[in-house]
């Protein structure tokens, strides 16, 4: 599904990713944990195609095809989805308009017919219901005036609507209380299964109690320094990053 090979990336001339390797098979959930400044957010932005980050080496392949030269919207069309750590507020653009434009853009990219207003609303209503999102929220401007929990739920809603093949969740747990966290995790778990793969990026082990990963990686200093099963997350929680990062360095 996704293959990251010796990935190097920098921003403003500062190298953040220093030869990162990672491979995720179809249908698998991998977690990346790491201390602040390890390069977690950089990795998610580079995957999504943010232009401020310059890839200086290595490659990212999705289903055997390099995505490095693709624009963010092309990557989304191919099935990549990034759930933002800080979802962006867009005053003046209504959620429904935004969502309909996004859904029909990826459908077009995938060779599917565009949804008309009625089919779109049906789809949106059913997904909103599944995630416990009120219709009223869809009438508001994108993320404007949303609480922290609403913003993250909105990310999961967008993920459900766009039916991606590979989902990157960038610190989806940050700023969430336990109830909100459960709702978000439930939404993600409903989408698991089949060929869909996930990369869950987090600072804390807590999220991984709700979204059980198949593998856990530790990112430090721009590289994967350790890989293990779900138990690695607990180990990190107990011992902290210092031991593992220290041992690897």
């Amino acid at each position: 599904m996704i293959k990251i090979k010796q990935l190097k990336a920098e921003i403003d001339g500062r190298e953040i990713l220093k030869g990162l390797d990672l491979e995720i098979q179809p249908g698998k959930v991998h977690a990346i944990m790491g201390p602040n400044g390890a390069g977690k957010s950089t990795l998610s932005y580079v995957l999504a195609g943010r232009e401020e980050y310059e890839v200086t080496g290595g490659d990212i392949e999705m289903n055997g095809e390099s995505i490095l030269e693709m624009a963010p919207e092309e990557r989304a069309g191919k099935g990549l989805f990034l759930a933002f750590q800080y979802p962006v507020e867009i005053p003046g653009v209504q959620m429904t308009t935004f969502m309909k434009t996004a859904v029909n853009s990826v459908r077009k990219a995938r060779g599917l017919s565009e949804l008309d207003a009625i089919d779109f609303l049906k789809l949106m209503k059913s997904k909103c219901k599944e995630l416990g999102i009120s219709d009223e929220m869809m009438k508001r401007a994108v993320n404007v005036g949303f609480s922290g929990g609403e913003k993250k739920r909105n990310e999961v809603l967008q993920m459900a609507m766009l039916e991606p093949k590979f989902c990157v969740l960038d610190e989806t747990d940050s700023g969430l209380d336990i109830d909100a966290l459960k709702i978000v995790a439930d939404g993600v778990n409903k989408m698991r299964g089949g060929d869909r793969s996930f990369l869950v990026i987090t600072h804390y082990q807590r999220l991984l109690d709700y979204i059980k990963p198949d593998a856990v990686h530790v990112l430090a200093g721009g590289k994967i320094v350790k890989t293990g099963g779900p138990e690695l997350a607990h180990e990190l929680e107990e011992k902290g990053y210092a031991d593992i990062v220290g041992a690897a360095a």
Binding site: A48, G49, R50, E51, E52, A71, P72, E73, R75, A76, G77, F81, L82, F84, P87, V88, E89, I90, P91, G92, V93, T97, F98, T101, A102, S105, V106, A109, A141, V142, Q158, L162
Partner: protein, 340 residues
């Protein structure tokens, strides 16, 4: 007869600092013409109201001396002011809204080739009345359109004006509003969408002459290529005009490094119990929302168009007439589709 070039204000005059009309008009070969409305009725005010105080009414005087067409409006109406190539015309539109009336006037300004339209719109609104005045400007590249709108707003009355520009050569849109009665309202808004070497100059003077009046100015400019936007807004609160509420906002979105926006807000306040605010911004499109939308699969051009549309939204929302709201939204969409 040639154009009264020596009479046209130059950038030396303060209110024409950013718009060089003589230079633009000098190269044009124009002859006096008319729209065929007739001009035999003599009700002109040769001197513009406020002439002495503000010294910015030369275009009104030129219109009075060369008036080519006169049209009276006192009820709902639509009016087209279309110039042909080579024409110099001075139309005068007189709108008289009687007490307790609500009137909607749609004015479409356009033309083909090179021309100079020097329009004066003279508005009087009685008591407890409303005029909704919607202006759509789609001018030719070599067209010069100068419009002087003067409005007198009586007690408990509202003047709601919206101006959309989707095409221009050189446009000077000057409005002078006088709030003469208590609890009168002057609400002006507009969207200027400019590309290539187009220029649109919005120059406003609003006088609060009575207590408890409100004035609002909400203008959005989107500038592409070498386009040039000008906004000069003056709010003058006379000493008697206590409890005045004056609001002014001019936002410009610059889509290319060669585009230019000149903004000059002015507040002149002589009353002591007033609420006046103004804000002006000039900036580029935000990268964050753009990336967010693209990450959701929305192509860059579509994302830009959506963001620009939402940028214009605040001005468009002030249109209270639903069908006009739709027309304006559609025209903005069209412009975005062909140019972004």
């Amino acid at each position: 007869m040639s154009l009264p070039l020596e009479r046209i204000p130059t950038p030396k005059s303060e209110r024409f600092k950013y718009t060089n009309l003589p230079r633009t008009l000098k190269g044009l070969d124009l002859k006096p013409a008319s729209l065929g409305w007739g001009n035999k009725i003599a009700v002109l005010e040769p001197k513009a109201p406020g002439a002495e105080q503000y010294r910015d009414t030369e275009l009104w005087a030129i219109n009075a001396e060369n008036v080519s067409d006169i049209r009276f409006i006192s009820g709902d109406d639509e009016i087209d002011v279309n110039a042909k190539d080579g024409q110099f015309i001075c139309p005068r539109i007189v709108i008289d809204v009687k007490d307790n009336q609500t009137v909607t006037v749609v004015e479409r300004q356009g033309g083909a080739g090179a021309y100079w339209k020097n329009t004066v719109v003279q508005v009087t609104i009685g008591k407890n009345a409303t005029l909704r005045h919607y202006r759509i400007c789609d001018e030719a590249e070599k067209g010069v359109s100068t419009i002087f709108t003067h409005v007198k707003i009586g007690r408990d009355s509202t003047y709601e004006a919206f101006c959309l520009t989707t095409g221009a050569g050189t446009i000077r849109n000057q409005t002078h509003g006088e709030l003469t009665g208590e609890n009168a309202h002057c609400w002006l808004s507009g969207v200027n969408l400019l590309s290539s070497a187009q220029l649109a100059d919005t120059t406003i003077t609003i006088e609060h002459q009575a207590p408890h009046c409100t004035s609002k100015q909400t203008f959005k400019s989107v500038l592409k290529d070498q386009a040039h936007g000008v906004f000069q807004g003056k709010v003058h609160v006379h000493q008697v005009a206590q409890k005045a509420d004056g609001y002014q906002l001019s936002n410009a979105l610059i889509l290319s490094p060669e585009a230019q926006m000149d903004t000059k807000p002015e507040l002149e306040i002589y009353a002591d119990d007033v609420k006046c605010s103004h804000g002006a911004t000039t900036g580029r499109l935000d990268e964050e929302p753009l990336f967010y939308m693209r990450a959701r699969g929305i192509p860059e051009s579509v994302a830009r168009a959506l963001l620009i549309q939402s940028f214009c939204g605040q001005a468009v929302e002030s249109i209270s007439d639903e069908s006009m709201h739709e027309v304006v939204t559609g025209k903005i969409e069209q412009w975005l589709q062909s140019r972004i």
